[in-house]
């Protein structure tokens, strides 16, 4: 395989059930390193469940059973021997609703690196500036680093959350509809930011917004719920899946006739 097609994270026959009720059935999907993969599909088709299984956030839900295989950098992460702090610092996550902690901007960014022992005796000023510049927030907040982060605007909060994830130097970033709770202007800024992270990080972006998927995605994975269980219908390069899909269902969905 050429480096371009190198796989950063891969699921094999991944299934998730909540209290015995299947939510995701047999998803096998390789995600290319450094590319943006958009996960699209109607509500309730298991997109978010798929995303949460990748960094084992599903562990938080009582009664949630994950089976199959998830490999990050060739390592099986569903194995209980895998250390969650390791996994989650490799695979970061951004949520639909921005969720900065109700503490200062500075502490929001440095809390996790400090807990993971990445800082040592460093006060973290360099890291702070680097990740804030990366998300285009440095000029906006450099004089307000001690401001409580929940006072920032919605778009700024979301970019701060992305910076917070980047501070751990992850390989993969999972984003669960990162723009859908933002106003159009802020949404555009975050979308541009996501596009700018291409190459350095492997991004998996769940979205309801097909035009957005068209704009930013390299690859597209289309999910659909059949018999109450989310399945992967089709995946591949964005142009192929969105413009000339193989499956009837995908074709109907991207033309806006289903879902």
């Amino acid at each position: 395989m050429s480096p371009e097609h190198e796989v950063a994270i891969e699921t094999i026959d991944l299934s998730v059930a909540y209290s015995g009720r299947p939510a995701l059935c047999g998803v096998s999907l390789p995600l290319r390193r450094g590319k943006i993969t958009a996960v699209v599909g109607p509500s309730g088709c298991g997109k978010t469940t798929f995303l949460s299984a990748l960094n084992r956030l599903t562990d938080l839900l009582p009664g949630c059973l994950v089976s199959g295989s998830v490999r990050v950098a060739g390592r099986e992460v569903l194995d209980s021997a895998v250390l969650l702090p390791w996994l989650r610092s490799r695979v970061g996550m951004i949520f639909q609703k921005p969720n900065p902690f109700p503490i200062s901007v500075r502490r929001n960014l440095l809390l996790a690196p400090r807990e993971h022992g990445l800082l040592g005796n460093d006060r973290g000023e360099g890291l702070l500036e680097r990740v804030l510049r990366q998300v285009g927030l440095w000029d906006e907040v450099k004089d307000r680093l001690d401001l409580v982060a929940t006072r920032l605007s919605g778009g700024q909060q979301q970019r701060l959350c992305i910076a917070r994830a980047l501070a751990l130097e992850p390989e993969v970033l999972l984003m669960d509809e990162p723009c859908s709770s933002l106003d159009p202007l802020a949404s555009g800024v975050v979308e541009e930011l996501i596009a700018s992270l291409r190459g350095r990080y492997t991004l998996v972006v769940v979205t309801h917004n097909l035009p957005q998927a068209r704009r930013i995605a390299d690859d597209v994975a289309f999910f659909w719920a059949r018999a109450g269980c989310g399945r992967l219908v089709e995946s591949g390069p964005a142009a192929q899946v969105l413009e000339s899909p193989r499956e009837e269902l995908t074709s109907a969905y991207v033309r806006g006739m289903r879902g």
């Binding site: 960094n55 956030l57 938080l60 009582p62 969650l84 702090p85 390791w86 996994l87 989650r88 610092s89 970061g92 996550m93 949520f95 609703k97 969720n99 900065p100 902690f101 109700p102 503490i103 502490r107 809390l111 996790a112 807990e115 993971h116 409580v148 929940t150 006072r151 959350c161 917070r164 994830a165 751990l168």
Partner: protein
């Protein structure tokens, strides 16, 4: 507010003039004359012990109940039930328990220490249950966000949950202090009713409410000073409530910007 003003006015009218001398002088002739200086000192000492013990214990119990419940379901239920039972126990029973356990078994004798510890047992359920409600009110997004950063539960509790729930913790503490300050029965058998200035925490001492009770019930001609002491007591309670719920609570809300 009206009821409070009515009671305060009534006490002032019946007690007559109140001056600083009353607050600092030692009582004489069984409290008929003189002031309440030593009694204020004893009260403060008992209260300090009570807070020092029940605040950390209460917050720890609340954390256990709200954050660590998933693992030790049975333990959580037992602790929760014990707190509820404790909240319903009459204060005289606490007095007898304190007398038997702290004074005799632990050999602390009639002392401020015994009294403070007994009050801590009484205030514990109020502090713990109120703090627990506060922890449960902390948005789930914070927890999910923290988990996605690979933070341990201890780190989340320390840096996110406890600060976010600080107003509730303070409110619980205010309730507990209110109950402790109003207590007579539990103190009669534990810290005693000697009205001189205590030399140490192992000394016996008289709390404000015990003083009021004694003057009103056991000392003929003690009524005016009983009224005055009662007035000082309710002003004290009011001041502590305002300080904890108003001042510190508002500070915590500003500091962490939480509702």
């Amino acid at each position: 507010m009206l009821v409070f003003a009515g009671i305060a006015a009534d006490l002032l009218v019946r007690g007559g003039a109140l001056d600083v001398r009353f607050l600092v002088e030692a009582p004489s002739r069984s409290g008929r004359a003189g002031g309440i200086g030593p009694i204020l000192v004893s009260t403060a000492a008992i209260l300090a012990i009570c807070i020092a013990v029940c605040a950390p214990l209460g917050v720890a119990a609340a954390l256990l109940l709200s954050e660590w419940r998933g693992r030790g379901l049975a333990a959580g239920r037992v602790i929760g039930l014990s707190l509820d039972v404790l909240a319903g126990v009459p204060s005289i029973v606490f007095g007898l328990f304190g007398s038997a356990f702290f004074c005799r078994t632990l050999d602390l004798g009639f002392s401020l220490l015994s009294g403070g510890l007994t009050l801590a047992c009484m205030a514990l359920p109020l502090v713990a249950r109120t703090a627990e409600a506060g922890f449960r009110a902390v948005p789930l997004e914070y927890r999910a966000g923290a988990a996605a950063l690979g933070l341990s539960r201890a780190a989340v509790a320390r840096h996110v949950t406890v600060p976010a729930a600080m107003p509730s913790i303070l409110a619980g503490l205010a309730l507990g202090i209110g109950r402790a300050l109003a207590e007579t029965a539990a103190l009669l058998f534990t810290s005693g009713y000697v009205d001189r200035l205590p030399g140490s925490l192992w000394d016996s001492g008289r709390a404000m409410s015990v003083h009021v009770y004694d003057l009103a019930m056991n000392v003929p001609g003690g009524d005016p000073n009983a009224y005055r002491s009662a007035f000082v007591l309710i002003v004290m309670i009011l001041a502590i409530q305002v300080a904890l719920q108003g001042g510190l609570g508002a500070w915590a809300r500003r500091r962490w910007h939480v509702a």
